[in-house]
Amino acid sequence: MYIPDHGERYHIIRKTFFANMISYIIASLTSSIGSLIDGIVIGQCLGVDSMAAFGLVSPVIIVFSLFGAIIASGARNRFTLLIGGGDQDGAKGVFTLSLLMGVGMSTILMAGIFIFSTPVCTLLGATGSAANLLDKSRGYLLGLAIGLPAMNGVRVMNAYMAIDNDRKLSVISSIVVTVVDVVLDLVVAFVIHGDTFEMGLATSISHYAALLVLLMHFRRKERLLRFSLKAIRRSEILPVLTKGMPMGVARVSNTVRCILLNQMMAGMIGAAGCIAAYSVQRQADSLLNGFIFGLTDTVLMLTGILVGEQNRPTLRRLLKTSFRAVGSVVLGISALLWIFSPQFASFFIKDAPRETLAYAVNATRCYAVAMPLYALNVVFSEYTEGRGKSHVSLVLKFCSEGGYIVLMAIALRPIIGVNAIWVAFPAAQVLQMLTIAAIIVVQNAKLRLKPTNFWKWYMALPTDFDVPKEDRLDRTVNSHEQVIALYRAVRAFCAAHGCDERRKYFIALAVEELATNSLQTGFRPEKHNTIDVRILKKDDDYIVRFRDDCEIFDPVKQLQLYDKDVPLHHMGLRMAIASARSVQYTTILKLNNLVLRV
């Protein structure tokens, strides 16, 4: 019996995808604007030497944030896999471990910076003819170092907020960082007439404020995230670090790429103009990569969960949705950037020679062309990483963020001269696409797959990933009529698999009762809520999985509240759950997830 989907537009995965993407973009844009204002205030109010000290210390910020980024990325990857696989205790342990590692390592780093601040600044360049910058750069470094535990604590906490139904708090914390930082910057510049140490301290204080905001997440008891030393498994330390390595490699690769390209340009005629034009391209990247990473980060998060569940059709739906998002959102932004590139370039380099402005416009347009290609490439590398293939993702990120860009710049320079610097970015993305295609071909060959369509080829999943099509039933419902049709289809499904009469009855009953309960309690038609039901026949078990985006409701907890002296209390829920061998409820990404084994 066919139960039609009420519309791709309102599918749970699509809605969750865009909700997460938008939250990430807002948080990222807010953060980028904050950094931009930091640089403007220092440059405009504190003077050239302070700006130079800021420039010397800035690369260290990337290193500071590296630990937090690696741990946050790796831990979340493990967390989503464990949650998808039903291991809640393991997931709590990973969360606790990631906080301890992030904050702990930052505290040690902070102590190290306080001890070795002078040699570090000398190494960064406050030496020789720039020795006069030592005090100012040391001041900025120390001011920032105070905030290290908070910076990485925020990074780690933010990685989990969407999963634990608190996307808004992540956005609020980003806004808090920016607002507090800007306000304190202005206080330093115009009220106390401070210098670089005070500016660094302002950034640190803003991150402690953000951390306090994020700690409010725990005020609600129903949170999945819980600090639990008992749940820590030492065996998770290495996976957390290795799963986070691709993120670390991407950042280091990005930084090294900039240094190498700057060095290439330093040897060219008109070097200052070239470097200025390239920095405009980097400003475009800094401001707009939030759109790409909002999209791809959501792919990574959802892939982890869906791989943990071994859910092939929903994984395909996720990838289709991400491709559509690239085709709409990213392509739209890149088109706007292309059109407004002269204005964009002029904003950053005022009173520049015509040639420099022309370079900057070209650089911006090259970034605009590269954006959709880059987004598609990162979708694949995040999908790969979400599946646990960190080694492949690591190589892809190295190539995409640095390796191929430098290679193309070197290869194209004899042909197109200085334009090779910015043409290298889109050219590298084309090369990356060819690499990805080759990887997919190899993956399919290794698994001896003969894919019959693009998505089967792209996903390259082993044949035993998910149960065969005939052993599963996937439906989306949003009305009582559809629930009735579904439970009858479930009875037919069970009968077709030789299920005994008792189990057939209880499985169908569970589907009718739980789906009806969702419709009656948290369902809001105006919000286009949907309920996804999945029944799997796996070995001797029947696994029934409900996922909906209705109001958060834990039926297991609700049953625990029922008054045994009031007969027939929560009758439907009791009938549905009592027959199950195991029942597990989680709420992640603002979705109710209930799994029964019957």
Binding site: R488, R502, Y505, E512, T516, P567, L568, G572
Partner: protein
């Protein structure tokens, strides 16, 4: 559920529902049943042809039992299959409605 059979013998009503009593068919069944309640002293519901009942169906019988109590009548369910009996036992249904 349009093929429920109602047989009135004096003041004893025999009801023979057929198939499923789920959240869609139960309201129809209840409406039909209530049309036969007045003046009845006893209702016997024969579950021989009922292969499925959910909480919606159980609520119909609970509501009808309440109505019958008020009019001094009684109801019992007979020929209930083992799976449905298990459901009744799970929720304590038999403490309220007589089942043979």
């Amino acid at each position: 559920m349009s093929n429920t059979v109602f047989e009135l013998n004096g003041k004893i009503l025999t009801v023979k529902p057929d198939g499923e009593l789920d959240s869609m068919t139960s309201p129809i069944f209840e409406k039909e049943l209530r049309q036969h309640l007045s003046g009845v002293d006893s209702i016997v519901v024969d579950f021989e042809k009922v292969n499925y009942i959910s909480s919606a169906g159980l609520r119909v019988f609970l509501a009808v039992e309440h109505t019958l109590e008020a009019q001094g009548a009684e109801m019992k369910l007979i020929h209930v299959n083992e799976h449905i009996l298990e459901i009744f036992d799970l929720v304590g249904f038999m403490d309220v409605v007589a089942v043979e």
